[in-house]
């Protein structure tokens, strides 16, 4: 087995048809679409075409699509732009404790500016209580932000029901749809969403391009100041090749969605069932009902071992996956998503995510299932927590770290 890539929630390879569509826009059709001359005119159509493709996948009007640089920019723009534009109406925002840092850190920054933020808890399966969400709404609430699907567990949130609640209370609703789009249907009209953010590199377009759906008529403050691109909503010269790539990636994702869902889901289910049946002391993180998770995502904790060490063993066999351990999360703590779900701290450090794609094969799943038990057992034999009789030292009262910054 050569190389196995199962980290598609981190990023994906650019699809060949996407790259092919982009190539003419580097050297031949290089113009700035804001220019009046022939070079500018050459590329205007390409932007319009891409906008239509994105709009079709999200079921909105092309005029409601704003191109920007990435998912994080979209989340920042949606939340900060709404907070600024609607601050005369209120200062309360509702979000969840399992959002991507692009949402959580943005809300944290707004709290410092005087906004109140409610971070909804999740249960041990990582799901929300919608009655709690509705009860959190006050006359000061200006925004609800709930991700369409979670990047770590793959949990899919009931966006249509939340959209109904938002509509009933006339509160704007933003969703980070970065992980959901392309994997499951994302219909912003049906779900009554006001703002939805997507990112190109999660669906076979390159890094550095994203888009936001903004419902027609929604007031939002500018985030990027400068030129008049994107109907004055997002300054900056258009990333023409990236936009063209995102358009094609959306078109391909829409055309292949049913087929890819079935194919990837079958591989993921086989991997999931294989791991749970062949390795003891493994915990599934996320909703046990596979229909309520993205078809490609599997998050499991191999008890008694730390995630990074397992990823290194994987890497030696050419397998790329990811972990929620502190040393891979880039922070002091293991994954905040595992923490929000109340996952035991050792299990949080042990959490391992496989995120599959249509490029994976049944042979790859079988290879992993063949190699994995021995890797896990080897690390367990090395672990002082395996077969331990004394209690596990849990707390950090005597942390020896001056500053623990794991990269």
């Amino acid at each position: 087995m050569d190389k196995i890539y199962m980290d598609n929630n981190a990023t994906t390879a650019v699809k060949p048809e996407v790259l092919e569509a982009m190539l003419p826009y580097f050297c031949e059709q290089f113009g700035n679409p804001s220019s009046v001359h022939w070079a500018g005119r050459m590329v205007g159509g390409a932007i319009d075409g891409a906008r239509e493709k994105v709009a079709k996948l999200l079921n909105c009007s092309p005029a409601e699509v704003i191109f920007l640089s990435c998912g994080s920019e979209g989340d920042n723009y949606a939340i900060k732009g709404t907070a600024e534009a609607l601050k005369d109406k209120g200062n309360h925002i509702i979000t969840t404790s399992v959002e991507h840092p692009a949402v959580l850190e943005t809300c944290d920054a707004l709290e410092k500016d005087g906004f109140d933020v409610t971070y909804l808890k999740v249960d041990s399966n990582g799901m929300l209580n919608l009655a709690e969400l509705e009860a959190a709404i006050t006359d000061k609430t200006i925004l609800i932000s709930v991700m369409w699907a979670n990047n770590e567990t793959g949990n899919i949130y009931p966006i249509e029901e939340i959209g109904q609640i938002a509509k009933k209370h006339k509160v704007r609703f933003h969703t980070d749809a970065v992980q959901a789009v392309g994997k499951i249907p994302v219909d912003v009209r049906k779900a009554n969403v006001d703002m939805a953010v997507i990112s190109g590199h999660k669906i076979g377009a390159p890094k550095g391009i994203g888009a936001m759906y903004l419902r027609r008529g929604s007031r939002i403050s500018r985030f990027m100041h400068g030129g008049h691109q994107e109907r004055n909503r997002r300054a900056g010269t258009h990333n023409v090749p990236g936009i063209v790539g995102l358009g094609v990636a959306c078109e391909v994702a829409g055309a292949n969605m049913d087929r890819d869902y079935t194919f990837v889901r079958n591989l993921r289910d086989k991997l999931e069932n294989g791991i749970l049946s062949s390795i003891p002391d493994v915990k599934l993180n996320g909703h046990p009902d596979a229909d309520l998770r993205l078809p490609n995502t599997l998050n499991v904790s191999f008890n008694f071992i730390e995630g990074e060490s397992l990823l290194l063993f994987f890497d030696m066999k050419g397998i790329a996956a990811s972990s929620g351990s502190a040393c891979t999360s880039g922070s002091l703590e293991p994954s905040h998503v595992m923490g929000a779900m109340g996952v035991d701290v050792v299990l949080a450090h042990s959490s391992t995510r496989f995120s599959l794609g249509s490029g994976n094969s049944i042979e790859e799943v079988e290879f992993i299932l063949h190699e994995l038990p021995a890797m896990v057992q080897r690390l367990r034999e090395m672990s002082p927590l395996y077969h331990r009789s004394e209690p596990t030292p849990l707390s950090c009262d005597e942390c020896r770290m001056v500053h623990k910054t794991c990269a």
């Binding site: 290194l312 701290v345 050792v346 450090h349 090395m382 002082p384 020896r400």
Partner: protein, 124 residues
Amino acid sequence: MYTEKVMDHFSNPRNVGEIENASGVGEVGNASCGDIMRISLQVDDGIIQDVKFKTFGCGAAIATSSMVTELAIGKTIDEALILTNQAVAEALDGLPAAKMHCSNLAADALHEAIKDYKERNVAA
């Protein structure tokens, strides 16, 4: 990210396990930080005859644990007490900067084991 020596000690760790009826046992770290290292010693005539380790932690944590066992075997307890986390990292040709604090605790675990050995002998 890791040096060849780190990867060598990570993939082929030396002296994994726990010594039965050890002269001293030391453990440092905790689960919230994601690193726990446990060292057991066999000491005869003030000389460390054998060291074994068990570690829950990342690649750097396992490699430093393995390295400290190699560095300690054959040393007197006084020599082992002056072995630093820094020296262990250097013996591995260095660790990534981010790992210097969080996963470089192996010498501390060794020192805890020596402390345990000394306490047991005072008690006896």
